[in-house]
Symmetry: C2
Subunit: 230 residues, 2 copies
């Protein structure tokens, strides 16, 4: 599976959350990072090139800071320029059909404010309807978004979890079985180990891996007992 | 009441719906037309000037073609640049509080497709939640939007109705009484008469005016009878 990450952020160098996410991108996997403001500093988008890029990937992600309940302007320009009738929708316009589409949002306000009675009044599912509608119109499968609330206030543990969640969004097959997901996680943990974290975090990691393996053994034993009862 | 119409359309000269709306703007009223792509062809928005403009008006309208369930990119840039913390929201950021906010949308697909099971899957109310949330956050009163579906296919009668509806959105006080609204309508009809329409349409107009006056007489008579019964 090939994943295209379309990032829109006017000042990506100054964004600690975006820099963290970039550091989590696995180098050995089929992941293309495509930061629009770097590629098109003058705002003139190359529609032909972008459409070719879309065709080459199976999973398309929009990654951006959630400004006024939507993306920065350049990603909107990209949508209007690239997702043309005859390519993305309409008669003979099904080049995106069957691909997966997901959002990776960095959000400055905490999760609990996004509900009736909260400061933001509406849920993220309500506010991102325009993207869900885009996925429907272009016949893409809409993935569960990765929502990053208040990155600056996250603990080390929360950031570690985000690191893994993000890698899953980038590379893990959708609807994988519990066992496949477990295997994926262990592989990733083994690769991570000692690379990006501090010594005390390494201990946490190896503990987590042991825990997962133990759980698996327990599950396998329970399954055997069930078999015998039958 | 002073109304600011912020229009975003990359090719406004070629848009028959936008040209029609422009022709309907009353010259003798407090209406400011502000087409972003004309004012900022290079995309560099003057935040100070825009904030000053907002302060000078009581009703703010966003008028644009509904591209990918949102506005053209320049209006999004305007939101991000102009609606800053400390001006539009946050501590001491209540410069828009109490103003009215509304959408005037030109939509290429017909109304009935905007529902579950329709081609667009979601309603306009669902898809415009980001604007409603913006109104909530900036403490503006969210008006019922003016939705223009498939202008190109409208009949003359539908366009006449749109002409009046648009003028109401621009100039009529919100929550006016039935009698005030009637008076407004008659005034507008008298001004329109013979100015923008063909002779056969003039007849339709004067018939409409007669009908409204007759209805009013009937209502007044009914009220008198009710008074007598009491």
């Amino acid at each position: 599976m090939k994943t295209l990450v379309i990032i829109s952020h006017p000042e990506i160098g100054d964004s600690s959350s975006q820099q963290f996410l970039l550091s989590a991108v696995p180098k050995d996997k089929d992941v293309t990072i495509h930061h629009l403001e770097s590629v098109y500093p003058d705002g003139n988008i190359d529609t032909v090139k972008e459409q070719k890029l879309l065709k080459q990937h199976d999973r398309i992600l929009f990654q951006f800071p959630f400004y006024w309940y939507s993306s920065p302007a350049l990603l909107k320009q990209w949508q209007d320029d690239v997702l043309t009738e005859g390519f993305a929708y309409g008669p003979r316009g099904s080049m995106l059909a069957g691909k997966e589409f997901g959002l990776v949002l960095a959000i400055g306000v905490k999760n609990s404010e996004y509900q009736a009675g909260g400061r933001e009044s509406f849920s993220i599912s309500e506010l991102t309807k325009p993207y869900q509608a885009m996925a429907v119109k272009t016949e893409m499968v809409y993935l569960k978004p990765l929502l990053i609330f208040q990155f600056a206030y996250m603990t080390h543990e929360q950031k570690m979890k985000l690191y893994i969640d993000y890698q899953q969004v980038l590379t893990r097959e959708k609807d994988a079985s519990l066992e496949t997901r477990e295997k994926w996680l262990l592989e990733q943990l083994e690769q991570l180990d000692g690379k990006a974290f501090q010594p005390n975090e390494e201990t946490t990691l190896s503990n987590a891996m042991e825990q997962i393996k133990t759980n698996r053994t327990t599950i396998d034993e329970l399954k055997m007992i069930l078999e015998q009862i039958r």
